[in-house]
Structures are given as structure tokens and as C-alpha cells.
Amino acid sequence: MTQGTPAGSPRHHWVVRVTHWVNVVALSLMVGSGLRIFNAYPAFARKGETFCCYPFEGMAIPSWLTFGGWLAGARQWHFAMMWVLVVNGLIYMAWVYLHGEWRDLVPRRGDLRDSVEMVKYYAFVRKDHPRQGKHNALQKAAYFALPWIALLTVVSGIAIWKPVQFAGLTDLLGGYTWARYWHFVSMVAVVAIAVGHVFMVFAVDPYALRSMTTGGWSERLSPEARNARPFINLKL
């Protein structure tokens, strides 16, 4: 039996549903325009130097992954959409905090063990779906980590936006070159979590599309009730 969502109430509050889908659009446009900006210099090395930690120096990102058309166009989108992303993110975080929803997301003692159990279950080592609250332990880890990684993307973004006015912040991140690197690496981490998330939605819990849109859901369709693994027991 899944706990954390009282019967009859929407699985996700409308604030969560709205900010989730605004985030889908804003994040996609930020990543796409960011990659288009990156393609103007798809490397990290300061001129006349080499960079230790990026194996793909000089290799452009495929244009179908980019947005904005050209450098100036992408910059316009990036510096406009950043406000949507940040304000939307702040609304979500404030709501999660004030409404107590953070209790479903913060790590607790035993989450590590539960994560191992989830991995064992998905790997067919364990037969039955582990008991869970609103989210399973792996989901909790992803949803909890995401805002913190996104915070690093935002802070490093501010550092490369104003490396002279906020020289102290840029120095804190190791200077402009490293701040730009952290901006990129943390973005890749956010995208990796998002891709994993979307994959699991379609492979394990497509009913989440409904609960994240209308809020409607049914306990008997939960992954735990269906004993669902990726592509297994998609239907009841």
C-alpha cells in the first residue's frame, strides 16, 4: 500500500503540476540555447593553454540538440528564459518547503538500504517490489539531488555572466574557465537525471503522465501495486 497520498486527493498539488510542466519547457530551452552558445567555442581551454578535464575539446554539439539558430539568438533566449527557470524553481521550492512536501523528498535513514533493494528488484535479484512511500528510494534520491545540482548550474551561470562584477564568486569557483566548466558539467548532470526520469516514466509508470497533468491517479496502478519493472507489468 502506497502511503503519502491520501485517497481521493490529487497525487500532485496543482502548484507542483504547473511548475513541473513550465520547467519542462524552460529547461529544454535553456539547455538547447546553452548548447548553441557552447558551440561558438566548444572547448574550455584558455587561449594558449590546454584544459585537463574535457575529452571532447573542439567537438561541436549536434545542431539538432541546440536551439537559438546562432550565437546571438541563443544568448537572447538563454538570458530571457533564465528568469522563467529560476522564478519557477523558486516557486516550486518555496511551495515544497511551506506545504511540507519536502518530507516525501528528504533522505532518511534506511534510504540507502532501500535504494539497494530497488536496484536488486530492477535487476531481478529480488522478486517483489520494495515497500515505499510516495516515491521509491531511487526516485527520492533523484528528486532530492536535482535542485542542489541545479543550484550549482545557476550559481556558476551567474559567475560566467558577470565574471568581473562578481569576481569573488567567479574566483570561488576556480576562475572563469572552471566556472564555465561547472556550468556545463552540472547541466549534463541535470540532463542525465531528466533523461533517466523520462525513461522511467515511460518504462515503469506511464500513469504518472496523468497524475502530473490532471492530478488523477489510482492506487492499484502504482508501480508497487503492479509489481512493475522497466517494460514489465505496464498494465494491471
Binding site: R36, A43, T66, A72, F79
Partner: protein, 235 residues
């Protein structure tokens, strides 16, 4: 249409919309909103700007030397043709009480400043150089700039290239009229006889091959600013 077909159709529509959107400049209707955001951003950036801010190059970081990219818009490296155009002079005019024309020697006799700074290109790369020159603020003082002047236009002989700035950025202590790079006279590849350089503006704002510095009551656009890049271009 059952629910599954509906989800599939919605997914296909969304997916193809995304694919069409890829690497496009986005819907034309967004242009107004983007321009609005850019203006609001500029207001914020100008509020954040401080003359106490300094670009810092970490100790131990050397200059890029000839790895410093060379860039100009003419087909060939622009070189001042003294036989055709007379001796090179840097004119300072507009809203000043003493319009002047400086020879290179004149500039070198003014306050001299050498600084190791980053050059920030809008493309995302940076290059470090030791630049030597005269602060624009010293030039402004020498010519008696009208306090009502709010903008400065830096003009060049590189095929009409110019970029106008807000006066606050031009008066930043690290904004200088450069005539020396890495301990040598500025070479033609990097904007000789003189160029403006400041770490508070992206490279495209830093006009090379200078001919005139005009103090103005209003902004006057610029080569890249008129082609879609932010006019402010500040760091």
C-alpha cells in the same frame, strides 16, 4: 481515439514541434518578449556595475601571446595608410570642451597603465594579455568631457567598425586606450596603432584600429550591436 492513442498523438505532436524548433531562432512572436527581457537585463546589469570591480587574472597565469586570436572585419589586416590619409591621429570629440587629436606619441605622454587582464569573447573563450595604454578616464579629463555626456562611441578604420558604450563602462579604471601588448608596441593584427580594451566588455565592444572617440548624449549602436548582439555586452 482511446487514451493510449491520445497520449501517442500528443507525444508525436510535441516531439515534431521540438524537432522543428531545433536550432531555429524560435517563433517570431517571441521576438518582442526577448527584446523586452534584454532591456530589463540591461537595466539590471547597469545597476550591478561598479567602478570598484576589478578583473583578476590568477597568479601564475601567463599571457596568450600570439595564441591571442586576431580579428577584424576587413578582408585584410587593416593598416593605416599614412601616405593616403596623412599621419594617424586619435580624435577625441563630441561633448568635450577641448576637442583634440592625439598622435601616438601624445598618447604615450599621458597617464600610462599596464594591466594583465582577461579578454572575454562572446563566443566563450578568454585570452590573457598585458595591455599598456592610457585610461579612457584620463583621456576624458584631458579633453574636458561634459558631465551630460552619457555615451561614448569608439570608431575605427576597419571598414566602418564602431561600437558605442555607456559612459560608466568607458570610465571603468580597467578601460584603456591600448598601444602596447605583452611589452611590445601593439601590432597590426591586434589593432595598431591603438585600440580600446576593457575586461568589463565583451571583445566585440572593444574597437580596434581606433580613429575617433566621440562623447555623445545618446547611444549610437555598433557593428555587432546592430546585427543582433546585445548592445550592452558587459561583464
Amino acid at each position: 481515439m482511446n487514451r493510449r492513442e491520445m497520449i501517442a498523438a500528443a507525444g508525436a505532436t510535441f516531439g515534431s514541434a521540438l524537432l522543428t524548433a531545433c536550432d531555429s531562432t524560435g517563433p517570431a512572436r517571441a521576438a518582442g518578449a526577448l527584446t523586452f527581457a534584454q532591456h530589463k537585463n540591461e537595466t539590471l546589469e547597469r545597476a550591478l556595475f561598479s567602478h570598484r570591480s576589478r578583473d583578476r587574472v590568477a597568479p601564475g597565469v601567463g599571457v596568450a601571446g600570439d595564441k591571442f586570436p586576431s580579428y577584424f572585419i576587413s578582408d585584410r589586416v587593416p593598416i593605416w595608410d599614412a601616405a593616403m590619409r596623412g599621419a594617424w591621429r586619435l580624435e577625441v570629440g563630441g561633448m568635450v570642451s577641448r576637442p583634440m587629436a592625439f598622435s601616438l606619441d601624445d598618447l604615450m605622454r599621458l597617464e600610462r597603465q599596464t594591466q594583465r587582464v582577461n579578454h572575454y569573447c562572446v563566443e566563450g573563450w578568454t585570452a590573457v594579455a598585458d595591455f599598456t595604454g592610457v585610461p579612457v578616464s584620463a583621456l576624458a579629463a584631458a579633453c574636458g568631457v561634459d558631465p551630460a555626456s552619457r555615451f561614448v562611441d569608439f570608431e575605427s578604420f576597419d571598414d566602418g567598425y564602431h561600437e558605442s558604450w555607456d559612459i560608466e563602462s568607458a570610465m571603468h579604471p580597467q578601460t584603456i586606450i591600448v598601444y602596447g601588448k605583452d611589452g611590445s608596441p601593439l601590432s597590426a593584427a591586434y589593432g595598431a596603432p591603438a585600440r580600446v580594451h576593457s575586461p568589463v566588455k565583451y571583445g566585440y565592444k572593444n574597437t580596434k584600429y581606433l580613429t575617433r572617440v566621440m562623447f555623445l548624449p545618446a547611444a549610437n549602436g555598433g557593428y555587432w550591436s546592430d546585427r543582433g548582439y546585445e548592445w550592452y555586452g558587459g561583464l
